[in-house]
Amino acid sequence: MDVQTWIYLAVGGTFALYIGIAIWARAGSTSDFYVAGGGVNPIANGMATAADWMSAASFISMAGLIAFLGYQASPYLMGWTGGYVLLALLLAPYLRKFGKFTVPEFIGDRFYSRTARLVAVLCLVVASVTYVIGQMKGVGVAFGRFLEVEFETGVMIGMGIVFFYAVLGGMKGITYTQIAQYCVLIFAYTVPAIFISIQLTGVPLPQLGLGASMADGSGLALLDKLDQTVTELGFAKYTEPNGSTLNTFMLTLSLMIGTAGLPHVIIRFFTVPKVSDARKSAGYALVFIAILYTTAPAVGAMARMNLMDTIQTGPVGEATANLEYEKRPDWFRNWEATGLLRFEDKNSDGRIQYYNDQNPEFTALAERFGWQGNEMVEIDRDIMVLANPEIADLPAWVIGLVAAGGLAAALSTAAGLLLAISSAISHDLLKRTFTPNISEKQELRAGRVAMAGAVIVAGYLGMNPPGFAAQVVALAFGLAASSIFPALMLGIFSKRVNDKGAIAGMLAGLLSTLFYIFVFKGWLFIPGTNWLPNTAEHWLLGIQPESFGAIGALINFTVAIVVSRMSAEPPAEIQRLVESIRVPRGVGAATS
């Protein structure tokens, strides 16, 4: 069978599976719709959480980022996993004990304030919408590439599938499809990685292959060879830092705090029966996430090695050591057709020179070789994972699998985000704020309508992405880190923080972070409206906008504590509420 048949088979088969699960797992009550009935097995929930968390960015983009940034990509690896330690130790068990349906609900009840609840809803909606647009775009790109349909058609098919199982099943349908999606995506990610690891190092486990010696007989360790290869062509050393330590530190911290504060992840812990299950579930979630996150560095390093070796076939400087353009491999031609890989023969020698022409020292040397600039004018980082099976010459079914895996990653995250958005609307805005008298049946219907609306809005924005769509890391993680995480943590760990402190803190964290992002990226991300160029020399202490979330969180903590100290302490029943969430006994199923 050819590649295209395998792709149709893999994608079609997995989609049929998701629809089958959706019909089986219909929601019959608001509890089913918001928290899957509250009876999800903690290990199953860990798996669903892993799929919920790992998006198109984790599946497609991360290994490419690592391939080209080397050590400098480490904040993403540590940040997006280390956040689970914060979530498990500081939030998940207590929020489970609190036993309600949504994140704004905790903030509204704990700080006995409608304003606090609405601020939380606002942060949740902005963070989640930004995030979901990226997923929809990922679905469109994956469909366009693999199924050869128009981008818009791809987004529409994706929307249709999510619409079906999310509207019908709510959290219950989403949970069980996410479990299936995790299996698909992890299989699709690790199979090519294992093949490539065997080819390069002879070691089947990619995590070990990363530290193994090359199988080419050189006896060099993979990473040493990679360091040598890239530095010979003027690039920075792969395994060593080459940026500001402070910025690396703050970026890692911001991503960790942001991860722990993202509502679509937190609500997954409301679905397990007990407090001890919430702890266990967080541990398993990280195990399932770590399988992909510890494979990614191997995929990145090996993909970079393969790419360099393909183009630079012998010693640097020898005229015949660069690949002849006419002899380029098939995968090279395939990706050139998409425009994501582009070659320009600057010195007209018919051979490809790929080197760092931003490095003045090496450029001087390159001129002596007769090289007139880097000729790989475009290498889109995202193609590394998708092209991997072709680069390693893997069988056609593996390519079909990768297509299904990328779609599973994007769809599972989109569904989780859409649920967070729709439950904030139907539960926090309608049931708990504006129309408290609606019946459970009416609320369930409102939840479905909100979900349908959210799917349509997300699909529309996926097709017509606004300026902020590309700013997921800055905006979603910035908001979650600077507003949601500190409010949740203070609500649990301090009995003294009151309504005024929490609201002032959330607004201070939120506005300072938005201000810092907008100064460099333009007000509301409108191009040209930024006050300062977005370059290292203009950043405050060299801290990039994506790294500011941790500082926003610090501002939030400080303001909340100071304002609370200056105003009345919370009422006795709120202090009792805090005491009750600190002990596991007496937990009930999540309710409204």
């Binding site: 690592i66 050590y71 480490s74 690896l77 540590m78 996993t81 280390g82 689970y84 330690v85 498990a88 130790l89 500081l90 068990p93 995590q207 990363l210 530290g211 193994a212 010696s213 360790a221 993979l222 990473l223 040493d224 395994t239 060593e240 830092p241 330590t245 690396t248 530190f249 890692t252 911290l253 007990k274 407090v275 001890s276 702890r279 266990k280 967080a282 541990g283 990280l286 195990v287 770590a290 996150y293 510890t294 560095p297 005491e579 600190r582 002990v583 596991p584 006994r585 007496g586 937990v587």
Partner: protein, 95 residues
């Protein structure tokens, strides 16, 4: 097992406070390890640790891209295990 509501609420309160302090201590220890393996070994001390290579990987690079993640997983399971023990010791466990 005692009943859920002991006769004297002051004993109950003292017990809950002791449980909370034990919890904070455990979280403090685990978060210190969390900080050391990621921010310490993976970022602040990366250059020093990179001078040591184990099995073909520089140690600083290893912590930043692999080691920290393994430790994170272990930390959550240690936390889960220790908290279940504390829950029983202070008689605040579920069921």
């Amino acid at each position: 097992m005692n009943s859920d509501k002991p006769d004297d609420p002051r004993i109950d309160q003292a017990n809950a406070d002791a449980y909370w302090r034990a919890n904070l201590k455990l979280v403090g220890v685990l978060l210190s390890i969390w900080f050391v393996v990621s921010f310490g070994f993976g970022i602040l001390l990366v250059d020093v640790l990179n001078s040591i290579s184990i099995g073909g990987v520089k140690l600083g690079f290893f912590f930043a891209q692999q080691g920290a993640i393994y430790v994170f997983v272990a930390l959550i399971f240690v936390y889960m295990h220790q908290m279940n023990k504390l829950d029983r010791k202070f008689n605040v466990h579920e069921d």
